[in-house]
Amino acid sequence: MTETTIDFINRDLLESLSTRLAQEPERITTAKKEGKKVIGYFCPHLPEELILAADMLPIRLTFGGELEPVAAGEDFLKSYSCPFARSCIGYRKLSDNFYYTAVDAICVAYTCDSMRRIQEYWEKYFDIPTFSLGIPQTHDRFRSKPHAKEYFKNELKLLRQKLAEFSDKKVTDQDIRKSIALCNQIREKLWILFEYPQSMQTPIEWRDVLNITHAGFLIDRTDFIVELDQIIKVLKRIKTQDIPKDTRPRIMIGGSIIGIGDHKILDIINRAGANIVADFTCTGSMFSRKRVSMPGIIGSPMDGLAERYLYNIPCPFMTDLPKRLNRLVRIARDYSVQGLVYYNLKYCDIWRAEFKFMKEALYNQLSVPSLLIETDYSPTDVGTIRTKVEAFLEMIGGQI
């Protein structure tokens, strides 16, 4: 069984969560024996609510940062596919990460070419049932394309039906409402945590909030809420005015997915003396951004799901650029960011293509500079990245 690969920084604060996480494989194994089904998914366009409403356990399979799964993934995807995508199939091939072997089925949102095929690989080579979710790629913010949402809503309805069949359970609107309420609670609590690093006197670092978010991809969602409540309770007791001000340069990290356990770039930034305070990634704060609005008594909860999961997910493949740029600039402003480190996994074309726009938007609107780091999970370029990051911090610091 896999040990947890989440490296919590504030171990005292997060001891209970860490213990809870370590127990998860055993609990899942027991639950499975009792007939509970486990559903894996990758991209945040996939509403966990539908899995929970069908009385199954959702797991977001987003481990990353390790070399072996990338190599194993090359049996399926070309060597110039992004290392995360290769890991999505490589972990299953290696079978040494508990979560990838525990799932009874996976849901795949069609968010890039590699993810599209990963579904078929899982099905054909590992005999795992898979359910797809199509997402319209253009749906501008002025809602001039109402048919986009209709299409997505139909996709969600179909997924709901498939999941219900797989679970052999009737999924009512009431079940969906309940799971929406649960997921909204998680989002709201995570958001409370993500707001702390806006201050120079924060009782919790952004990195730990990321760690907590990652733990929440794995552990039982109801238990996760208990853990979140406990963490927030402790944090609220801390007098922030007593915390010494953190004067390190304030960095926002953006770009490709930061997988569970992928800490190469984060470590380089921290070791160079900077503080990561915010992010613009789909495994970080953007995962918990915006709740699902609950309809009135007669409305359908599917409407709220379609609205939230179509318009409020930070995927460059799906979201129109002006909306993304506004969001990026707003986060940079709210968190008093001094520089953006754009972590681009090699061969992840959709994120790479956006960098120039992001760099210009931040510089023109806030005079915040950006640094592009294109890399993979191998350690060979750590020296070069360190030089780039240090030079960037020297540039931001301006003392030299």
Partner: protein, 265 residues
């Protein structure tokens, strides 16, 4: 104060450089091979420079280490990246400089600097050594069999420029072998290599914006063929430092920063 010396030590992948200053004046600078022990190479070249200036190590009050080997230089008071140092050094040589193209042994950088010599933006190649000094060195030694220093001169005798599409050190060698086999002259092939470097570096430079005046630093700046190719492809003049070895610009910047930090302390 009269005996207070500050030093910049730039430990690159191929060569280690040291430069010392006193009261704002350069006392001397030297270049030596990095070899297999970067920290030792840095220390030795610094000692050699100090010996040559009739001072002793104890006169050195502040040392900044830069270059990829900076992290393994325990004798330094502080480390600063070569990106910042090249910017500062180039600005000191000529305050009009806005873009520095530094091509060293294993990396290439384009640094955009402001009126005050501070870095505004930069790009640096990733882990691959394509289009760097190593690229030229391996081509010269392994397939062209000419001394590295002669490349510039030889390329000026080219009658036409061979098209070498690969900037990968390994692939380019294969391409060179084919070109030579097809009867192309050595000179034309070398001119092609220089063009290939120029294209690669200009591609990087466009990401930060190429603002004149442009200065070229690092070992490859000594190769006139690359300078000429850059000037031709950029349609603008590229300045090579005259009164100081272009390889010493990073160490100069480091010494200048050392001087600032020492005076402020």
């Amino acid at each position: 104060m009269s005996n207070s010396i500050v030093a910049g030590v730039d430990i690159g992948s191929t060569t280690a450089k040291a430069l010392i200053m006193k009261d704002g004046e350069v006392l001397g600078g030297l270049i030596g091979p990095t070899g297999t022990n970067p920290a030792l190479a840095g220390k030795q070249i610094l000692e050699k420079v100090i010996d040559g200036s009739n001072h002793t190590m104890s006169d050195v009050k502040y040392i900044i280490a830069t270059g990829y080997g900076r992290v393994s230089a325990p004798f330094a008071n502080k480390t600063i990246t070569e990106i910042t140092c090249h910017g500062r050094g180039a600005h000191h040589i000529s305050p009009q400089i806005r873009t520095v193209i530094d091509i060293g042994g294993q990396d290439a950088k384009v640094v955009s600097i402001g009126e005050d010599g501070k870095v505004v933006d930069f790009v640096m190649n990733d882990k691959c050594a394509s289009g760097t000094g190593r690229f030229l060195e391996s081509a010269a030694q392994l397939v062209l069999h000419v001394p590295l220093e002669d490349l510039g001169e030889l390329s000026s005798k080219a009658t036409s420029i061979c098209k070498i599409s690969s900037t990968c050190t390994v692939f380019a060698q294969t391409e060179i072998v084919s070109l030579l086999a097809a009867g192309e002259s050595k000179e034309n092939v070398i001119a092609g290599l220089h063009s290939s470097i120029s294209n690669r570096v200009i591609g990087m430079a466009k990401r930060v914006g190429v603002k004149p005046v442009i200065m070229m630093t690092g070992g490859v700046a000594k190769n006139k063929g690359v300078k000429n190719a850059l000037e031709r492809d950029l349609s603008t003049e590229v300045i090579i430092p005259e009164n100081i070895d272009p390889q010493l610009v990073g160490a100069l910047g480091a010494a200048l920063i050392a001087s600032d930090l020492f005076n402020n302390s």
